[in-house]
Symmetry: C2
Subunit: 305 residues, 2 copies
Amino acid sequence: MSDIAASVEWIAVDWGTTNLRAWAMAGARVLEAAAKPLGMGALKRNEFEPALLGTIGAWLADGRTVPVVACGMVGARQGWVEAPYVQAPSLPLDARRFTEVATDDRRIAVTIVHGMSQIDPPDVMRGEETQLAGFLALEPGFSGTACLPGTHSKWATLGRDRIAGFRTFMTGELFALLRDQSILRHSVGDETEADDGAFAEAVTEGGAAPGALAAWLFSTRAQGLLGTLRPAEALGRISGLLIGMEVCAMRAAWIERPLVLIGAPALCDRYSRALTLLGARPPAVIDAERCTLAGLAAAHRFLAV
Amino acid sequence: MSDIAASVEWIAVDWGTTNLRAWAMAGARVLEAAAKPLGMGALKRNEFEPALLGTIGAWLADGRTVPVVACGMVGARQGWVEAPYVQAPSLPLDARRFTEVATDDRRIAVTIVHGMSQIDPPDVMRGEETQLAGFLALEPGFSGTACLPGTHSKWATLGRDRIAGFRTFMTGELFALLRDQSILRHSVGDETEADDGAFAEAVTEGGAAPGALAAWLFSTRAQGLLGTLRPAEALGRISGLLIGMEVCAMRAAWIERPLVLIGAPALCDRYSRALTLLGARPPAVIDAERCTLAGLAAAHRFLAV
C-alpha cells in the first residue's frame, strides 16, 4: 500500500468539460494532486470510471472504500450520471440533491454535486456552485458579488451564505471563436500576448458603445488590413471589447458593493484592470483552486454527517 | 459564334469570396447570366483566369476583345490582382483607381474596380462601393443611409452622389459562428427557420441592453437545457439579439433620415422587421443584384469615356 493510500481519507475531484483534476485529501489537507486531460467532453458514459481509476488508482487500496466527491460537468446530461440542478436562490450546496454513482470498483464511493439553475433570467452552472460554497466557507458572512471569469464567466450575488442569483456571460467562448475562427484570425495570427494599451482602450470603447461590438470588431480587421495594427494590439482589442462590455453590463453588481474575483491569476488580472478602468475599486482576487477544494471539502463534510 | 457572342458588348462580374457571378451585357441589358462557386477564397492566383473563362467562355469569340468589369474580393490582396482602396469620403467610383489585369487570353480585357477604405473609424469594403454606385445611378440625388445586410453588413451615409462615410458590422459572421461553432449549436440543432416571436423579443433585448449580449446568448443555451426553448426559438433569439444590437447602434443613421436596404430579400426582411420594431419607418428595399449590375454598368461607362 502506498503512503498516500494509507492516509487518504477522501478524494476531491473537479471534473470539467476539458480536464479531470483530483486531490488525495486528509480532512482539508491535500496529500497529493493529479490531473489528466480527460474531460467530460472527451468521454463516453462507460469511460468515466476507467478515466477516474487511471488518475487516482495509486491512492486506493483493496479492502477499503474511499469517498470521492466530484463537481462540474461530470454531472451534466452528457456526463457520467446526470445530477439535478438546485434552483437559485439557494444555499450553494444541498446534500439532498447530491447524486451517488454506482461503480464497478468497490474501492471508491462516488458522489457528484448538483448543479444550480435559475428561472429568470434562465441560467445554469455546474462546478461554480461548489467554488462559491468554498468561497463562503473561506469568507463566512461575505455579502456582495463574486465574479468567476472563464469560458463562461459567472457573476453571483451572495448574501446570508446563499446564492441569491447569478448571470453567465459566454465572453471567453466568444473571444476564442473570434480569435481562432473568424476573419479576425488573420489580424491576430499566432500572437498570444495581448497589448495592454489596446486592451485598455477597447475596454472603454466596449463599455461605452457595446451595441457597436460587431463594428468595433470589423474595424479591428480593417485596421489590420490597412497596416496600422499589430497582432498583439488586435488581440488586446478583441479581449478588451468583450471584457469591457461584460464588466459594464454588470456595473450594478460591483458599483459600491464588495466584489471578489475567483479564477486563474492571469484572467483575474485582466478583469481587475477592466474593472478599475471602468471605475471600480481594485477587487479582491482569490485563487479558483483554493475555492474548489474548500467547496468539495464542505460537500464531503455533508456526506460525513 | 453563339448568338450571345455576336451581341455581347461587355461582361459584368461580381466576384466575391465564395461565388463568381457573371452577366453578358448589351448596354444596360442582360443577355445571359452565369454563376459558379469559384470565389476568391477558393482560388490561387493563376486559377482566376481559367475560372473566369470557364464561366464566360460561351460568350466570347475569336478575333474580338470584350471588356470585362469585375468588382468584389477579386481585387483583394489574396485575389487575382490587388486593386487599391479609394478613401472615403468620395464618389463611389473613381476610374483612375481601376486596375487592369493582364490576361493570356486576348478575347477579354479585364478591369477590376477599386475597394473603399476609411481612416476613422478604420473600415474597408470591396464590392459594396459598386453596389452603392449602382444605387445612386438608380436613385440619383438620394440623401440618407443605405444599409447592405450580409456577412459583413455595411451602413453607408450617402449625399451629393458621394459616400460620406460607412461602418461595417460583422453581424452575419458572428451569427454563423454562434449557430455552427459555439455551445449554442446544441440548442439550434439542424433548425433553419427562425421563430418570429423569439426574433422580435430578442431584437428589443439586444437593442435595450447590448452590453449583456454574452449573457443573453448563454441564457438562450440555459433555456434550451432547462427544456423551455425550441430550436427555432433559439435561432430566432440569436438572430434577433445580433440584428437588434446593430440596428440600435446605428439609430442616428436611420432616425428621421431616409433609409434604404440593399440586399437579399429574406435578410432585408429581417432587418426591416428589426428596424420597425425599434421605431423606424418601414425602409425601402432594393434588390442587391440590381444595384450590382447598375454599378458595374456605371464602371463600364467610365471605361468607354
